[in-house]
């Protein structure tokens, strides 16, 4: 894995620090390729994408009790039907990028957050909060422990991620399994 890709990047989206009253902070973890290497080490995988029909989307929604936002299922698969699905769920307000490994029986073999986005409102007006982002934009590579501080006390719910995993295991059972 190359080192650059491991580094944390901070993306400031939305209103911007000085203009708006809220911003989205994105924390990058593994890239999709790195997630593949950690969930399926040494396995040769090729990209796939499947377009779900309306009927399939309805069936997945019914089985997982979770809204199906996109008609596309994308990621990587191996010749012996191991899967790595790259997906998005909506967290409290923002998208969270995920990679989920599913084996040939549809069992979950790994869940990695690739990008976690969080929107901040009131904090933005706090000079100390702003200070850590000064001079940084999406082109600057940041090491988390050196530049962007960890937060003690931020509660991040994993319910949306659990829902997303359920949706994708149902997507496997209803659609991907039959593509073998």
């Amino acid at each position: 894995m190359n080192r650059r890709a491991f580094n944390q990047k901070l993306l400031l989206v939305g209103g911007g620090l000085l203009l708006g009253s809220s911003l989205v902070v994105a924390k990058n973890y593994l890239s999709a390729e790195q997630a593949m290497q950690t969930i399926w080490p040494g396995l040769k995988m090729t990209p796939f994408s499947v377009e779900l029909s309306e009927a399939e989307m309805k069936a997945i929604k019914k089985a997982s009790k979770t809204r199906v936002r996109s008609q596309w299922v994308k990621g990587y698969r191996s010749i012996d039907n191991q899967w790595l699905i790259i997906d998005q769920v909506v967290g409290k307000h923002e998208f969270i990028d995920l990679a989920i490994g599913l084996d040939a029986q549809g069992a979950v073999t790994g869940v990695e957050i690739l990008t976690y986005r969080e929107s901040y409102g009131d904090e933005v007006r706090n000079p100390k909060w702003q200070a850590q982002f000064y001079g940084k934009d999406s082109s600057e590579v940041l090491l988390l422990d050196q530049h962007i501080k960890n937060i003690s006390g931020a509660t991040m719910s994993c319910r949306h991620i659990t829902d997303g995993v359920n949706r994708l295991t149902q997507t496997w059972a209803l659609v991907l399994k039959n593509l073998a």
Partner: protein, 268 residues
């Protein structure tokens, strides 16, 4: 120097692990894999939601017969018992029935009428026995424990090659090289304050996280604690820091218990 940052769901929240070391990627991946694996063991053993977890089996059976638990659950229960005694009953993990009644935990097969009183729990090494039905919830201590053992795994994997590491489980966090390390703590108005780490671990509690529900109870008063501030506790053990945030929320920051555990309390 090389580094890895990974984030996975666990312990009912998201767990973030960062490791920097003088080693190749394979070692970093292996270390993070071990750390996430032990977090997953703790999550499974001590989940209140999962009816087959060790915690659920204790809650269902320990008043009938002794229940043998795994080493993780045993360590957490021993610390919970010690903390109960040292805090004169302020830290009590048997408030589970109250959490269920207040809608903060899901209804399970356990009785909702169980009155908290951890002195009714008997521990003999890994054997747990209740003298009368109790409903334990380890949500106020297990996350900190998981962070501790995850960091232990990282240290064991990298040894002398380790440069920096942090494990953050929804705000309960531990930092390997913690001197001059800054951490952000949101106050009740969500304004963040920057604090320097005073020990290797920190845990924070605030009522704003749950919009009015603090999930911290004063067992003696039988009510939730209204937190007007965010309580952060620094200690060398994240399990201790985690547990002591609940004690500090009830008794304030000046109490001999914090000295006994070499912990520092900050209210922001």
């Amino acid at each position: 120097m090389n580094q890895i940052s990974r984030c996975q769901p666990g312990l009912g929240t998201l767990v973030e692990i960062n490791i920097q070391g003088d080693c190749d990627d394979a070692v970093l991946i292996e270390a993070s894999r071990h750390a996430f694996a032990v977090i997953s063991e703790v999550t499974q053993a001590m989940s209140f939601h999962d009816q087959s977890s060790e915690l659920s089996i204790i809650n269902q059976q320990a008043h009938h017969q002794p229940v043998k638990v795994g080493v993780h659950t045993a360590r957490v229960l021993h610390m919970a018992q010690q903390m109960y005694q040292d805090s004169a009953g302020v830290f009590d993990v048997s408030v589970g029935s109250w959490l269920v009644n207040d809608g903060l935990l899901p209804e399970t097969m356990v009785a909702l009428t169980n009155v908290p009183d951890l002195s009714q729990m008997k521990l003999n090494d890994r054997q747990v026995r209740f003298k009368r039905p109790l409903t334990l919830d380890l949500g106020g201590i297990a996350k900190g424990y998981a962070v501790d053992v995850a960091m232990d795994r990282i240290k064991a994997c990298l040894n002398q090659q380790l440069i920096q590491a942090s494990v953050n489980a929804g705000g309960d966090m531990k930092v390997y090289d913690w001197h001059n390390y800054e951490v952000l703590v949101p106050d009740v108005h969500k304004q963040v304050k920057s604090l320097y780490m005073k020990r290797s671990s920190v845990a924070s509690s605030s009522s704003y996280y749950l919009a009015g529900n603090s999930a911290i109870y004063d067992p003696k008063q039988g009510c939730q604690v209204e937190l007007g501030t965010t309580v952060s506790v620094f200690a060398d053990s994240c399990m201790v820091a985690d547990a002591l945030t609940k004690v500090a929320a009830v008794v304030g920051k000046t109490d001999p218990i914090f000295e006994r555990y070499e912990a520092e309390v900050m209210m922001v």
